[in-house]
Point group: C2
DNA sequence: GTATGATTCAAGCAGTCGTCTGAATCAGCG
DNA sequence: CGCTGATTCAGACGACTGCTTGAATCATAC
């Protein structure tokens, strides 16, 4: 049965190439060459390049989000979880995946970090779909950890968390500084959690209406929006 | 003299299109169409597509980093600055640019957030070059605010900061949640600073060697990697 | 005026893109 | 054996890619 792993070989090759060169920068020919299959096999099994992207995305995102929810379920069953625990439930699955599978997880996580910021319509809808599953759950979980925050603030801070996460997934050691690479080791996750938990615990800006430590307390004019 | 603003029109059109569709996803023909110039004008003025990308990048990154350094200089002249002040010196210029220029700043910041994660060699070198200018300065500045951190930890946390920054620059309201868009208003910057300052002040993980608040102190088995 | 250097133009280069087609190959079943 | 349905194959389709060319156009200097 040659057909079975053909599909998987294509997806794996595409995953790696998308991670390295991005989606638009990868041609189907390089995918089929790397996978050792015929060009038409892609369209036979997937139909279109966008559909292949979707297949690459969905191969791992489903189990990953399931793992996130399972962890959150278990935590909430045991009582009201700590902020660190919720963060760990959110981040640990994807960071663990990153260093599993003999590099394949690393490849996928890079792929995710990459496409996460690519302006492809399919990606937009995919991420939106997937986030509907876990997003609201984690927003309420995070909100319960810090009840003085409005839901809007919780969402905003969750965006900060996602920013740190997705940036660390790409893990380009861009900065020319020594040892700037974000290791895939478990301590990186712990550092991330410590950093993000402390950040999340920052007092709500809504309460003490003005900031307390920065030079310009309020910018005088709302930067001329209309009718200048 | 038609030639003068032809160059600028090309750069502006490219900036907008790269921001919307990414670099690889944008053809020179769409750039020239949008700019209303001839196709050959790009190669006459810039030589190559990569060079155009570099021009788009450099048109604003220079003044931006200069502004960052100027703010930092002024802060350090006044004494040892607070963490919030250093964060503001680092983030404020780019976040301010984001809402200036009647949308052009927004476009550029999206462009930056976009290319920041694109695997283009030119981008890699450009960012590395630019970061050499400001990177070390801010690493030491941040380090002085939190002297118990090793330089490696400072760099790691600076990566977290960059993650939040670049993610907020793309500002796709990806999450299907209401009001998930990260406004360009000045309060977003204040929220970011508050969040990141609190995160940066988290105690060094090197001191209290194990984490103190998460369920699994050490992962028992490296989840079966090989020889299943 | 003519000459000059800088810019713009239409047209085309070779190459690659995603997608499609029709024939070849395969395993399993009668 | 022949038949069937699934899969793979080489090859090609038109469209698009970045890039180049040589002629046309422009403002300016002589």
């Amino acid at each position: 049965m040659p057909g079975i792993d053909t599909k998987d070989r294509i997806v794996s090759a595409a995953e790696r190439l998308f991670a390295e060169r991005g989606f638009a920068g990868t041609s189907l020919r390089t995918v089929t060459t790397k996978a050792g299959v015929n060009l038409a096999a892609i369209h036979y099994h997937f139909g279109t390049k966008d559909a292949l992207l979707r297949a690459v995305f969905e191969r791992r995102i489903g189990p990953l989000n399931a793992q996130r929810l399972e962890r959150l379920d278990r935590l909430e069953a045991e009582g009201s979880p700590t902020l660190e625990a919720v963060l760990e439930a959110f981040l640990s699955p994807i960071m663990t995946l990153k260093r599993d599978l003999e590099g394949e997880g690393l490849v996928w996580s890079r792929f995710i970090g990459r496409v996460y910021s690519e302006p492809i319509e399919v990606v937009e809808t995919m991420i939106r779909e997937q986030f509907e599953v876990v997003g609201q759950r984690f927003v309420t979980a995070f909100g319960r950890c810090q009840p003085d925050l409005s839901e809007l603030e919780v969402v905003e801070r969750l965006q900060f968390i996602i920013g740190v996460m997705s940036h660390s997934l790409i893990d380009l050691n861009r900065i020319g500084l020594p040892a700037a690479q974000q290791g895939a080791g478990p301590e990186t996750l712990q550092h991330m959690i410590a950093f993000l938990a402390a950040g999340f615990r920052a007092p709500s800006a809504a309460k003490n209406s003005h900031s307390d430590a920065n030079p310009q307390p309020n910018l005088p004019q709302p930067p001329q929006a209309r009718a200048s």
